[in-house]
Amino acid sequence: MVFNADVMRRQADELDAELEQARFTGQSRDGAVTALVSGHGRLIDLRISAAVMRGAHPQAMGPHVVEAVSAARRAAAGPALAKMRAVLDKDQVWQPQPAGARPDQPAPAADYPPPAMSTAAQQRPREEVVEENFDELDFLTDDDSDDRGRW
């Protein structure tokens, strides 16, 4: 398998543009506040229900604003993470959204599924993946005895 940095860079740029155009909404539990975020989680719009302002304690809506923004970001995080993994994991294939799609419309997470290949890749038997986890490898101390003397 060949690692192609140019292809990965191009796919990352395309994904970046796609996430910037994607929209996700989230609501507070009482539905009084709605937040709209981009695929990156950037807050784009916030709507507070007029009914809340007429209520007895409109000052209590602060936590509802946080709830709505967090819910929208959670909705955005799932698909974004799956697509990023597809770009960064060389065993998977990422496809940009079809040209006919309308990324400017609010899209719930269910309408914006991760690519099919990523699901298939996750269901592969574990033993097929023979990769080293470099996070767990200490290059200074984990010396391979077979390589001694090569210096």
Binding site: S49, A50, P63
Partner: protein, 103 residues
């Protein structure tokens, strides 16, 4: 000093510098940023990583706002606070990187 020792020392230096930068980044993420809303309306708090964590509103000032006006005010304040926190984090990390000589 032979080549292997030089390489080993260089790797240790890079390791220490990287750890220092990571620690700075982590410390910054634990420093929340709080901004006041215009007109003593309340405050917005974002985490050091630039994510909204709290909104407090003063009931005595709210009667001046319609739902739309309050939505716009909060939207701009949250965007501003998150941008400021992200910039502060980036600046702190950049300063730490420059200090370690990793750049």
């Amino acid at each position: 000093m032979n080549y292997q020792d030089e390489l080993y020392n260089l790797a240790r230096e890079i390791d220490a510098a990287t750890a220092a930068v990571a620690q700075t980044a982590q410390q910054t993420e634990h420093q929340p940023l709080q901004l006041s809303l215009p007109g003593d309306l309340g405050t917005i708090t974002v985490s050091g990583a630039g994510e909204l964590t709290a909104v407090t509103l003063d009931g005595t000032e709210l009667h001046q706002y319609t739902a739309d006006a309050l939505s716009r005010t909060l939207l701009h304040a949250i965007q501003d606070a998150e941008t400021q926190a992200e910039r502060r984090r980036a600046d702190t990390i950049a300063a730490a990187v420059a200090q370690t000589g990793l750049a």
